[in-house]
């Protein structure tokens, strides 16, 4: 499990980094979401964006824990 990332001499909690990346990705994917058909079926589009962010954060964490070589980040 990757708990800590080494970025230019600073060790940060992995959660923070994955959340930042997930946030950026979710922001970028928002535009694509708005083009899916029946987007108007959603009551609150913000909820979908929140779900996207949470899923991305969780997915990134899972991917990193299982596939990211520790030598790259420690």
């Amino acid at each position: 499990m990757i708990e800590e990332l080494h970025l230019f001499g600073i060790y940060m909690p992995a959660a923070l980094v994955w959340a930042s990346i997930a946030g950026l990705l979710a922001y970028w994917l928002r535009n694509l979401l708005q083009h899916i058909p029946h987007y108007e079926l959603l009551w609150h589009p913000g909820v979908l964006e929140l779900a996207l962010f949470a899923l991305l954060w969780w997915g990134l964490t899972l991917l990193a824990d299982n596939f990211l070589p520790r030598a790259w980040v420690s």
């Binding site: 708990e3 080494h6 959603l42 909820v47 899923l55 954060w57 070589p69 520790r70 420690s74």
Partner: protein, 299 residues
């Protein structure tokens, strides 16, 4: 038609909210419940070495960061002085022997002619022999003590270890009992992870553990050796036989205490080096057969 549309909308929104909650739950498990901590330290017992006799250091036989074996001589303290003390004690002993031998001869002679001497004189001579015999015993003990002191001028390593932060030079005066050299006891090297108390239910003695040192990618394997029996209660002062002094303020926002968990090292990758004080991440793995502990809801 409008009605169906609204039902569909509600359903989709509910599903999306469900997804959000599920992802948050998974994230919570991963980051808050799994027993792992970034707050671990490599530790070892430190053996402070003090001289048993005072005196000038005449010889320093170690250098900083040297690995020493148990019994190896580290420092030599003023042997000439303690040799002189031994000589003196031996001379004293010899004197006592001579005096005792003379007194014994006199006593033997006195006892051979009781008709010529007063009983008091014979008794006095006998008592003198006895007291000189005890004095001889004292002199023997003083000689043995001087010999012991001379032996103790060699300051030896009590355990296998590594000398650390050694700055002694010949000519420095050492006081008996004052620590002079710190030895890191190599066999006591271990990792201690400070786990939040909320994660402790998932930690059991014997659980396998992975340790990652800061900047080292290779995994160090170990197992949970023990869990600290207690930590200081910071809300409470006052010593034994005093009334409890409990902090009157109680914060709204609280943080979990951290409890030291001791990890014994089973496998160290080649070329990896454990230095007490290094930072480590400790991950504890579940072992089949561990009894699950009920946590507060919903996890």
């Amino acid at each position: 038609m409008i009605r169906r549309h609204e039902i569909l909308r509600t359903c989709i929104t509910a599903v999306v909210i469900g997804i959000v909650l599920a992802a948050i739950y998974a994230l919570w498990l991963r980051y808050q419940v799994e027993p792992l901590t970034r707050d671990g330290k490599v530790r070892a017992d430190l053996v402070p070495i003090a001289a048993d006799v005072s005196g000038l250091i005449t010889e320093v036989r170690i250098h900083d960061d040297e690995v020493v074996r148990k019994g190896q001589i580290l420092l030599v303290i003023d042997r000439p002085r303690y040799r002189l003390a031994l000589d003196q004690a031996e001379a004293n002993l010899a004197t006592q022997r001579v005096v005792l031998a003379q007194a014994m001869r006199e006593d033997r002679r006195n006892q051979a002619m009781p008709e010529l001497l007063a009983a008091e004189v014979i008794e006095q001579g006998h008592a003198r022999v006895e007291s000189l015999r005890t004095a001889l015993g004292q002199a023997v003990a003083a000689r043995d003590l001087a010999r012991l002191n001379l032996e103790r001028t060699y300051v030896r390593a009590p355990v296998d270890g590594t000398v650390s932060n050694m700055t002694l030079q010949p000519g420095i005066y050492l006081n008996a009992g004052k620590p002079a050299v710190a030895l890191v006891y190599d066999h006591s090297l271990r990792v201690e992870g400070y786990f939040e108390e909320t994660k402790l239910p998932a930690v059991h003695v014997g659980d396998p553990a992975s340790v990652y040192l800061m900047g080292v990618a290779d995994e160090i394997r170990g197992h949970v050796e023990s869990i600290a029996a207690g930590v200081e209660d910071r809300e409470r002062g006052g010593g034994d036989a005093q009334l409890a002094n409990v902090n009157p303020s109680f914060t709204w926002v609280r943080l979990a205490q951290r409890i030291p968990v001791r990890i014994a090292i089973d496998y160290l990758p080649p070329n990896a080096r454990l230095i007490p004080g290094q930072t480590a991440t400790v991950v504890i793995h579940d072992r089949p057969g561990n009894k699950p502990v009920h946590r507060s809801l919903p996890w």
